[in-house]
Symmetry: C2
């Protein structure tokens, strides 16, 4: 797990970048300024990041790996949503340490359409990766796709609420709330009798 700011070059560059993005805007900030603020060279910057955008997305791979490994590590008897929930547990733990960074990052992304698009693509890849990990566990194709989408929708909704408040430790509770709401929404107006039968699913 990554400490908030490592005393290493990547950590210093990240901290400098985030500070400058907040102070003077993402668009207006150059790689040269980031490197200077971190007391490092541009060349060092480019050893860690392809461009300034990557500073904001360096955690994406780690996040995806955590989703996939958590789904893989779920007990054999766990169903698709149980495996997704074990990934949500792990992700909530990872993020608790990143709250200050995540809050600033969310503000920067909200102000920049290009970064928003990149964020959407990251989330879509996360859903695909989760679905792939579920398929590897033997979950049927369609169920895996929809469980992956659902898991990421819950994560995204909870994340958006989490960065807007002060307590870093509530993410898992926010996820529970999102998942409960999702269940209520899709089952709205349905009694037990209206729940789909396996035979009906196979026909479609």
């Amino acid at each position: 797990m990554m400490p908030r700011w490592k005393p290493d070059a990547a950590g210093r560059l990240t901290k400098a970048a985030i500070t400058l993005f907040e102070q003077q805007g993402y668009e207006a900030t150059t790689v040269a300024e980031i490197a200077e603020a971190a007391g490092l060279t541009k060349r060092t910057f480019f050893r860690y990041f392809a461009d300034k955008r990557e500073v904001l997305f360096m955690g994406s791979e780690e996040l995806q790996d955590l989703w996939v490994s958590s789904i893989r590590a779920a007990p054999d008897r766990a169903g698709a949503m149980e495996a997704i929930e074990s990934a949500l547990d792990a992700v909530a733990q990872l993020f608790a340490e990143r709250h200050p960074f995540a809050r600033v990052r969310a503000r920067i992304i909200a102000a920049n359409p290009e970064l928003q698009e990149r964020e959407l693509i990251k989330l879509a890849k996360l859903a695909d990766a989760a679905a792939g990990a579920l398929r590897d566990r033997g979950v049927a194709d369609r169920a895996a796709t929809l469980a992956g989408q659902t898991g990421v929708a819950v994560f995204h909704d909870a994340f958006a609420r989490w960065v807007q408040q002060e307590d870093p430790d509530v993410m898992r509770a926010l996820m529970d709330g999102s998942l409960a709401e999702l269940r209520a929404v899709v089952m709205e107006g349905r009694g037990r009798a209206a729940r789909p039968k396996a035979s009906a699913l196979r026909r479609a």
Copy 2:
């Protein structure tokens, strides 16, 4: 509703573009070739499309408008998912006429990562627009967000199956199948007693 190929300039350009994309690949095809194949000038092309990519995405706005207007037009007493389902009805009708175009388009997009990203962004915007239309109906913020995400996940899953088979009229049935599967996945292992209560949702 748009006929498969209008005898107008935009329709001729679209048909020419799709044919060339299939024959020689999307990357290798130029706007000049598209215009020539349609018997038109490059200038005419640019009156309709900003670039060749736009040929594949010209229906996005119409699709989003249809989602929003269908959700708005749902009966007052309809809940969030009922309103989403009325949008799915309308979308299935719209697409039935577009099956040949949609199938070719899906193959082109599947072969091109940049187009896939654009497609993902289109879908994310669709989910946001649907959520916005639900909020306008008085649906609570979180329920609206999750219903929009769910609706688009169902649409996307059904769409991917629909372009892989021959019968243009099965899209609504495929959507029903996806929605039933989604319900089964999120309610997996839950009896009636385990369904979330409104009081629990308000706490979260």
